[in-house]
């Protein structure tokens, strides 16, 4: 039983590591852009991936509170997108 538990835990961690690698690869898009929307998009991808990783870690590390963290992240995920699209530039263009 404990042996199988260990196998499942390793599997979860391996998937989590793979997703993390995925996330880091996605950083390339933040670099290349070209537009700000592309960079923002990449950041949103990171959010979804992080949620998946947290769910996996919650199971692998037996820390159920991490599922709350994932819940919080998805709940607040839209805020960044809203912030990105709703914050205008300075009305007068530049400072002075």
């Amino acid at each position: 039983m404990s042996h199988r538990g260990y196998a499942v835990e390793t599997l979860n961690l391996a998937v989590a590591a793979f997703l993390l690698l995925n996330l880091l690869a996605g950083l390339g898009r933040v670099h290349r852009g070209p537009g700000a929307a592309d960079r923002m998009l990449a950041a949103l991808l990171f959010g979804t991936t992080t949620v998946a990783v947290l769910l996996l870690l919650a199971e692998a590390m037996a820390l159920p509170a991490l599922r709350d963290v994932a819940l919080l992240l998805v709940l607040l995920a839209a805020i960044l997108a809203v912030a990105f699209t709703r914050i205008p530039r300075r009305p007068d263009g530049a400072g002075r």
Partner: protein, 101 residues
């Protein structure tokens, strides 16, 4: 290995594959819109598979429900975010001035 474990393993693998697809799309697709579509769909499918796979491992219905909730909320957030970003890109192209930087 029990059937549930086998299924769970398969789902996790599938989820990982979806995430990989999303990342490849993000990096390789030529236009912002194509990237937007590829990414939101692939990632949320991936998250769904991972959540389902984990739900099979879970020992209580409470945990499974929470996983479902997370996925549902992620879908809503992704829909809204994609919509907002797409609008923003459209405005950026057609509008007089680029609103975002």
């Amino acid at each position: 290995m029990t059937l549930a474990e086998l299924l769970s393993t398969g789902l996790l693998g599938l989820g990982a594959a979806f995430f990989l697809t999303g990342t490849v799309g993000l990096l390789r697709f030529p236009s912002t819109f194509a990237r937007l579509h590829a990414l939101t769909k692939a990632d949320n499918l991936g998250l769904g598979c991972v959540a389902l796979g984990l739900a099979l491992q879970a020992d209580s219905g409470w945990v499974a429900a929470k996983l479902a909730l997370v996925w549902g909320l992620a879908l809503v957030a992704a829909t809204a975010s994609a919509h907002l970003l797409a609008r923003c890109i459209l405005r950026e192209r057609g509008g007089t001035r680029r609103t975002p930087p």
